[in-house]
Subunit: 347 residues, 2 copies
């Protein structure tokens, strides 16, 4: 594999000193780029893009070329895991994912299984294509959804404001909920190992719906599975946990073997650092809507963010995925502000 020319993000994740703060954006490979839309519109749908390694690699690399980010993240979807387990999904335009079959009772387990990681072969092929295309320019991030977030979709069948069906299962059938979490976790661990085998340099686990639980329930119900994932993978590559909305659980996340904790834009950096302790790297957390402002305002907020997190153990990012109607020029201002900023190391 080509030697890395830019390993800023890996060093930041490991807590090593860096010349400047590295930066990437969640959803950087996507609808913000006209170049992405051109590829996407040539296909029948989102899933065709996810499942076609050459094209997935192409859109993965686009933000490295066009925006100048310090890492690529493989273009895929967290829902490939439930699909490999037996629940296929459809991506409905403007509405989001939809699962024709869901898990609501004991009988529904007949439809699912712990997946053979080889079923997601197209992801590893996309990783290999991407690494060849990147040729060492920047590291490549692999990812998966956290078991709780995947359970939410498998039980609910679609997005939801409250995911009350999923939460109902936790309270009414904790045995089924834990059985499902266990199956998702086993699948996820072998899937992430296969991504590392294929060559990704780091991993991120997205617990997108963490914020609908409270601290105790998150600790009891989600944390043990996140710990299993972190413990299995952390010795191989640096792993980031991003539990969106779980401001109440940063201390628990910090107790795992992950290296980096994602911080959403609602969580003040100083609070996140106090909760996480001094050792972990923090990632985030500009409000994505700041990128709707003018350039001066974007630079101001970006610098404030950099100063709040400090010069080390920080990976700059937004506090959420970049919104699809964001102007790429505004993203460039965000990135360029970070790249040209010099921390006052004497402070």
């Amino acid at each position: 594999m080509a030697e890395l020319k830019n390993d800023l993000i890996l060093r930041a994740a490991k807590g090593q000193s860096v010349e400047r703060t590295p930066v990437w954006l969640m959803r950087q490979a996507g609808r913000i780029l006209p170049e992405y839309r051109a590829v996407r519109n040539s296909l029948s749908g989102f899933k065709e893009l996810v499942e076609t390694p050459e094209l997935a690699a192409e859109v993965t690399i686009q933000p490295v070329d066009i925006l100048g980010v310090d890492a690529a993240i493989i273009f895929s979807d967290i829902l490939v895991v439930p699909e490999a387990m037996g629940l296929t999904y459809e991506m409905v335009e403007k509405k989001g994912p939809w699962f024709p079959k869901t898990i609501s009772s004991e009988n529904d387990f007949a439809n699912i299984r712990v997946a053979d990681p080889n079923e997601l072969d197209y992801v590893y092929k996309a990783i290999e294509h991407t690494l060849a295309g990147l040729n060492g320019r920047v590291p490549l991030i692999g990812f998966a959804g956290a078991p709780f977030t995947i359970l939410c979709y498998m039980v609910e069948g679609s997005g939801s404001k409250t995911f009350s069906k999923a939460r109902k299962m936790i309270f009414q059938r904790p045995d089924l909920a834990h059985k499902l979490m266990d199956m998702i976790t086993e699948t996820t661990i072998s899937y992430l190992h296969a991504q590392v085998d294929a060559g990704v340099h780091m991993l991120q686990v997205f617990d997108s719906w963490a914020g609908i639980l409270d601290k105790d329930l998150y600790k009891a119900f989600s944390m043990p599975y996140l710990e299993r994932i972190a413990d299995s993978l952390s010795s191989r590559v640096p792993l980031t946990l991003f539990a969106k909305g779980a401001h109440f659980s940063i201390d628990d996340l910090a107790s795992t073997s992950c290296r980096t904790i994602g911080v959403d834009w609602n969580t003040p950096p100083a609070y996140a650092r106090a909760q996480a302790g001094p050792d972990k790297t923090l990632q985030g957390n500009l409000d994505p809507t700041v990128l709707y402002a003018d350039g001066k305002e974007i630079a101001k907020h970006t610098i404030k963010m950099l100063e709040s997190f400090g010069s080390e153990k920080h990976i700059a990012n937004l506090g959420h995925g970049v919104y699809p109607d964001t102007n790429p020029d505004s993203v460039k201002i965000f990135i360029d502000t970070i790249k040209s900023y010099e921390h006052d190391k004497n402070q």
Copy 2:
């Protein structure tokens, strides 16, 4: 007006000592009760119920009779305010509110005005009917949406996971956003005064979408308007601010003249108390999905909540509106557990 036989909630709100913790539920008048559904199904739609004072009063009183709560809250909707300002809304079954016209540019302001509070006369009539029907059994709570949450709907035109259009306006046209906030605030203040004139004993302001802003933006953009509302009303009746998701702003909310701060279920009670300081009353915060569990589990979580908040300056509630498919018997267990619980006052 009939003398109040049960003023627990008012005393708790004022920080006075109480024999036991008072309890009510957000959305207690609603789809959880078969008696509500019977009234609702006899009508053409949700709005007919909101706009018919005798029926709005009937469903407002139902949870007092059936569930035994310590307060009624007038059956209405936060969206009557934007409607009175000129933007009518429709309540689309299973989808939520929808505004045919929205505010996205300067020109759209031609469609709206600071409302004459008399346009919401049906609400005050519903309050009068309710007070007659309650005959002093429990206090009646009036309410309105917070200006930021109302702006979200007026700009976005419907519910949204991100309200990115509303947040875009804040960054791209702060002048328009503040102009709109000002108009909503003026309307809301006169609307809430008219509710107090009609006889409500306390008020709650719901900032349902507070959690999509960060601390600085919430402070700059939402707090000044909440302060104006609190300052104008707090000398008349105790006022509660419930900024859902704004765990980061509890200290700011506590700096206003409100008496009570609503706490969502994600925010640990000890954290809320530390942020709010010792003076304010806190309201909340059981996870609504706990009511899906069996009776023993519900009682256990309810007692844990009571012990976390302590015996004074606490109004028991859920941390969000009760979910429509909740069994009323489970709500009864929640309420009865609170009513029969004796705090160890020596601790």
